[in-house]
C-alpha cells in the first residue's frame, strides 16, 4: 500500500531558532495521527509546514495525488498546491474565524469550495450545503445566517462542513476542540470520529489535549523543543510511555 503522505526530514527554522526539525513519518490512507506537545513544542509549525502554509527549510512532503501518484508538495508549483488545498486537503483552524468567511452566509461558506472547483448550479450547491449542515448537526434553516450569529461550537462544525464538502482525503486539524466547552467538545469529537470513518479520511490532528487524541487518533507523535521524542500506537504511548517527557506529560493530566 502506498502511504497517502510521506514526510521526510522536515525542518523549519525561525532564524536561528528551531521551529521543528528531523520530522519523518508515513501516513497511510484512513489513518488518524495525533501530534501532542506543549505550547512552543513545534507541533503547529510542523502542521503548517505540512499543509503548505509555511515553506519548510528542508525536507519533503510527498502526497499521493489522485492524478499523478506521489508528488512532493514542497516543490510543486503554487497553483497545484493551492488546488490540492481546496480539493484533496482540508484544514480546520483552531479559531473558526480563521477558517470561515464571517461576512458570507453558512450556505455560501460551504459552497465556496464547490464553486472553486467549477460547480455552477445554484440549486445543487445549495442542496449539498443543506445536506452538510445536517451532517454537522446545524439546522437547515440556518443556511442563510452568517457565522457571526453562530455559537463557537456551531462555527467549528460549520468550518468542518466547509472543509469536507469536496470530499478531501487528508484533513489537517489545529486544536479543533480548543476553546470549546467540554460538552460541545464531546459532540464535535463524536462527529469527527463518525466522519473520519464514514469518509475514510486520513487526518493529522495537533492538540495538547490527550483525551482528544485518545478518542480520535490511531497513532501518536509526541513533540518537544521542535523534535519528535516518541511515536507509536495512541493507547500504547499513553498507557506505556517510554520517553521521560511523555511520561511527564501523561502523568500531568488531571484525573476526572
Amino acid at each position: 500500500m502506498t502511504p497517502l503522505l510521506q514526510v521526510k526530514n522536515i525542518k523549519k527554522l525561525y532564524g536561528a531558532r528551531i521551529g521543528c526539525t528531523d520530522v519523518t513519518f508515513d501516513l497511510y490512507p484512513g489513518e488518524v495521527m495525533g501530534i501532542v506537545g506543549e505550547s512552543g513544542s513545534g507541533k503547529s509549525t510542523l502542521l503548517n509546514s505540512l499543509a503548505g502554509h509555511l515553506a519548510p527549510d528542508c525536507g519533503e512532503v510527498i502526497f499521493d495525488t489522485r492524478a499523478n501518484g506521489p508528488v512532493d508538495t514542497v516543490t510543486m508549483s503554487e497553483p497545484e498546491r493551492r488546488m490540492l488545498a481546496r480539493t484533496d486537503w482540508a484544514f480546520v483552524h483552531q479559531h473558526a474565524r480563521d477558517g470561515l468567511r464571517m461576512s458570507v452566509s453558512a450556505g455560501g461558506n460551504i459552497g465556496e469550495r464547490l464553486m472553486a472547483v467549477g460547480d455552477r448550479h445554484y440549486g445543487s450547491i445549495r442542496e449539498r450545503a443543506a445536506d452538510w449542515l445536517g451532517r454537522v448537526e446545524i439546522s437547515e434553516n440556518r443556511i442563510d445566517d452568517r457565522p457571526s450569529a453562530f455559537s463557537g461550537g456551531m462555527q467549528q462544525r460549520l468550518q468542518i462542513a466547509r472543509n469536507l464538502v469536496t470530499g478531501p482525503r487528508l484533513v489537517f486539524m489545529d486544536e479543533p476542540t480548543g476553546g470549546l466547552d467540554v460538552s460541545v467538545q464531546a459532540r464535535l469529537l463524536d462527529l469527527l470520529r463518525g466522519l473520519v470513518r464514514e469518509m475514510g479520511l486520513s487526518a493529522i490532528i495537533v492538540t495538547h489535549d490527550l483525551a482528544v487524541v485518545r478518542l480520535l487518533a490511531d497513532r501518536l507523535m509526541v513533540m518537544k523543543d521542535g523534535r519528535v521524542v516518541e511515536t507509536g500506537l495512541t493507547d500504547q504511548v499513553l498507557d506505556d510511555p517510554q520517553h521521560s517527557y511523555t511520561q511527564l506529560l501523561v502523568s500531568s493530566v488531571l484525573q476526572v
Partner: protein, 227 residues
C-alpha cells in the same frame, strides 16, 4: 495463533530518578486455534500486564509476541490496528467509549470497522444485547450512564460482536449474576468451537474450570522467580 517467545517487560520511570521496575521476564506461551488458556497467579503477578503486552497496549522490552503472523512487539501502529480490527479481540474490565454514542452502535462498531453492512451489524448487536439481558429501551442511550454491571455486559457484547480468531478476556464473568455468567461462558465456548484462541483471566474458579483447557501461572514469568 498466539505465540510468545522470551518476552520481557519493564517500566522505566524517568521522572522518578530513572527507577527501573522489571515486571516480566522470559514469558513464553503458545496457543493453538480453539484453545483456551487461563492465566493464574496472585494479584499483581502480571496477568493483566501480559494481556496488555499481547494486545500491543504495553510495549514489550524484548522477545516476540506473534499473533496471527504479526509480531506485536515490532509492528507498525497500522499493522497492530489492523490486527485488532480483524484478528485480536480484547474485553477489558472497563468500557471506554465516546460520549453520546448509543449502546447499539457501540456494540456494532467492531462489525462496522470490518465493513459489515449497517443493518446486519445492528441485528447482531441487538441479538447479543438481548442475550446479555440489556433492556431494549436502553439500546438507544449511551452506556456511559449505565450501572457497572450493565457497562460490563455491553463491553462483553461488543467484544463478541465480531468473530475474532484470537481473544483476550480480562475477568469477563466478574460481578455477573448466575444467568449472565452462564450466557458469557456459552459465548466463550461457542468462540472456542469455531476455532478462536482465547487467553482469559478468571477469578471465578468454576468458570475457569468450565472453559479453560489449561492454565499458565504467570508467577513463573516474574523477574524474582527467574532470579
Amino acid at each position: 495463533m498466539i505465540e510468545l517467545n522470551n518476552v520481557s517487560k519493564s517500566f522505566i520511570l524517568h521522572n522518578q530518578g530513572g527507577a527501573v521496575i522489571p515486571v516480566m521476564q522470559n514469558a513464553t506461551l503458545c496457543l493453538k486455534p480453539g484453545e483456551c488458556v487461563g492465566l493464574t497467579g496472585v494479584s499483581g503477578a502480571g496477568k493483566s500486564t501480559l494481556m496488555r503486552v499481547i494486545y500491543g497496549n504495553y510495549l514489550a522490552a524484548s522477545g516476540s509476541v506473534v499473533v496471527g503472523g504479526v509480531d506485536v512487539a515490532k509492528a507498525e501502529p497500522r499493522e497492530i490496528l489492523a490486527l485488532r480490527r480483524e484478528t485480536l479481540g480484547y474485553v477489558s474490565q472497563f468500557l471506554r467509549v465516546v460520549p453520546r454514542v448509543p449502546t447499539l452502535d457501540v456494540v456494532a462498531e467492531p462489525l462496522l470497522a470490518v465493513g459489515t453492512p449497517v443493518g446486519q451489524a445492528r441485528d447482531k448487536a441487538a441479538s447479543l444485547l438481548a442475550q446479555l439481558n440489556i433492556q431494549e429501551r436502553l439500546w438507544g442511550l449511551s452506556p456511559t450512564t449505565f450501572s457497572g454491571g450493565e457497562q460490563q455486559r455491553v463491553n462483553i457484547a461488543r467484544g463478541f460482536a465480531y468473530d475474532y480468531p484470537a481473544m483476550l478476556l480480562d475477568e469477563p464473568t466478574a460481578s455477573l449474576d448466575a444467568q449472565n455468567r452462564a450466557t458469557v461462558l456459552g459465548l466463550i465456548e461457542t468462540a472456542k468451537a469455531r476455532g478462536a484462541a482465547i487467553i482469559g483471566i478468571f477469578h471465578d474458579e468454576s468458570a475457569r474450570a468450565q472453559v479453560c483447557d489449561r492454565f499458565v501461572d504467570v508467577s513463573a514469568f516474574s523477574p524474582k522467580a527467574a532470579a
